[in-house]
């Protein structure tokens, strides 16, 4: 299900790489995304399919903590598809509290 990563980003939604997290419950979708993203070139948009109700807020929070772009999501039949834009490699480490 991994498509080729288009050079310079992914303007064509049909060619955006996908990660299918359906059937996985929190925190697995975020873990799967975190494991996948380092393989992707900066600028790539990753599409995450999930039916976990916690995935939306958690993916948004993870993107904020790791500096990636959270492009939102939408419903596709019985599940959600969220889009995440990969930013240049960011070091893992302590994250300042949201306050």
């Amino acid at each position: 299900m991994t498509g080729p990563v288009p050079a310079g980003g992914a303007a064509d939604p049909g060619r955006e790489p996908e990660l299918d997290c359906r059937g996985r419950r929190c925190p697995l979708p975020v873990i799967m995304v975190a494991a996948r993203v380092p393989e992707l070139a900066p600028g790539t948009v990753l599409r995450v399919r999930t039916d976990d109700p916690a995935a939306g807020p958690d993916l948004a929070a993870w993107c904020r903590m790791r500096g990636h772009g959270f492009l939102g999501g939408g419903t596709d039949g019985d599940h959600e598809v969220y889009r995440i834009q990969v930013t240049a490699r960011i070091q893992a480490g302590p994250v300042p509290g949201s306050g």
Binding site: D58, W62, M65, P94, V95, S98
Partner: protein
């Protein structure tokens, strides 16, 4: 606080879920047991003693809340029942205005009442919150200004993340719109000031050290509200069925006692909570704090640990001797994350809420801070998420 089942080292850090009875509650319950055991609605002399105890409890709660005794009701079923009664009674009292406004971070009791109202055809509008969990007063004002709004609900401070709401500004907006404000003070009463300006208020006795199952409902004079219970006579604020009068007496006595306790203890707890909020992110990688850093309940801190299962974290902390709570979906039984954390847009998994009962020692908190890093590291190692 020692749990006999788990031994002397066990520390209860879930005050926001409810407290064991305050010594004054225990003493008042025992003292009221003989005279309060009769049906206060009957006419014989022992029952009249029971009725006098109930009256005295009502007067005591009224004095504690600076309202009139005939504005105070007691609800069997606790804070949840009182919240339902506040919302349903106010909407039923003003049938021409079926609009209900609430914040996105209300207690589930209020959200359930709102959902029932929506299912019955009422208009319900949820006001979003910011990353710290606070409503924007201007946004709230715009929502209550919509014609047909009959009730506005606001939690005075969050039971999940501690953030206090801008009650005075919201109250002013409600007054300008002619909409009664219902304040859910369950998490705040006994811990933080309850700002004025509301028309209805609910609270829960076991959150301040009273017995479980006793809710307090306050409806100020002039508020359009009808008893939402089938067959209840007009003007009654008490839930139907026989109230546990000794428990109501214990609730009233412990509220008065807690409000009279020195503020120094809350200042001490606030310093311990500040320590938790400073030390947890410093000692544990990839932690997100939730809630306002300053304008908050004094005894409660919430944080989320990236990549962790909240349920596994609670069990591990329990084995290490700490009772804490979590808003993560895996602990909710519904697979839905905490609506509060989701509305704030903060991490919902790996969530931990610590809420300190009065008397929590600095040693208890230091032991928690010393224990947490290894608990989190072990769980992350088991989950294979180290380095992600």
């Amino acid at each position: 606080m020692v749990d006999p089942a788990t031994g002397g080292g066990y520390v209860y850090l879930d005050a926001a879920a409810g407290l064991p009875p305050h010594p004054v509650a225990t003493a008042a319950y025992a003292a009221a047991g003989a005279d309060g055991g009769y049906d206060p609605g009957k006419l014989y002399s022992p029952a009249r003693r029971s009725a006098r105890l109930l009256d005295a409890a009502r007067e005591s709660v009224a004095a504690s809340l600076r309202v009139r005794p005939d504005e105070v009701g007691f609800c069997a079923g606790g804070g949840t029942a009182a919240a339902h009664a506040a919302v349903r009674g106010a909407l039923a009292g003003d049938p021409g205005r079926a609009g209900l406004v609430h914040s996105a971070v209300e207690h589930s009791a209020v959200l359930h009442a709102a959902a029932a109202h929506a299912a019955a055809g009422g208009a319900v509008r949820a006001v979003p919150v910011d990353r710290l969990g606070r409503v924007d007063p201007a946004g709230y004002a715009a929502a209550v200004a919509v014609p047909g709004t009959g009730l506005a609900a606001l939690i005075s401070a969050s039971h999940e993340v501690g953030t206090t709401q801008p009650v005075p500004a919201v109250a002013a907006a409600c007054a300008a719109a002619g909409v009664p404000l219902y304040l859910d003070a369950a998490a705040a009463l006994g811990w933080a000031p309850v700002p004025p300006g509301w028309s209805l208020l609910s609270a829960s006795a076991h959150k301040w050290g009273g017995p479980p199952g006793i809710g307090v409902l306050v409806v100020r004079k002039g508020t359009r509200w009808v008893p939402p219970w089938p067959g209840a006579p007009a003007g009654t604020l008490d839930s139907p069925g026989r109230l546990d009068v000794p428990a109501v007496v214990a609730a009233a006595a412990s509220l008065r006692a807690v409000l009279a306790e020195p503020a120094a203890e809350l200042d001490r707890l606030r310093a311990l909570v500040d320590l938790v909020r400073a030390e947890v992110p410093a000692r544990v990688p990839d932690v997100e704090l939730a809630g306002d850093p300053a304008d908050r309940l004094p005894h409660l801190a919430t944080f989320s640990c990236l990549y962790l299962d909240g349920e596994a974290l609670l069990y591990a902390l329990d084995r290490a001797g700490f009772a804490v709570s979590s808003g993560s979906s895996c602990t909710s039984g519904t697979l839905r994350p905490s609506h509060v954390l989701a509305a704030m847009g903060v991490l919902t998994h790996g969530n931990v809420r610590v809420s300190l009962p009065r008397g929590t020692t600095a040693a208890d908190v230091h032991r928690f801070l010393d224990t947490l890093p290894a608990v989190v590291a072990d769980l992350r190692a088991q989950a294979g998420v180290v380095g992600l």
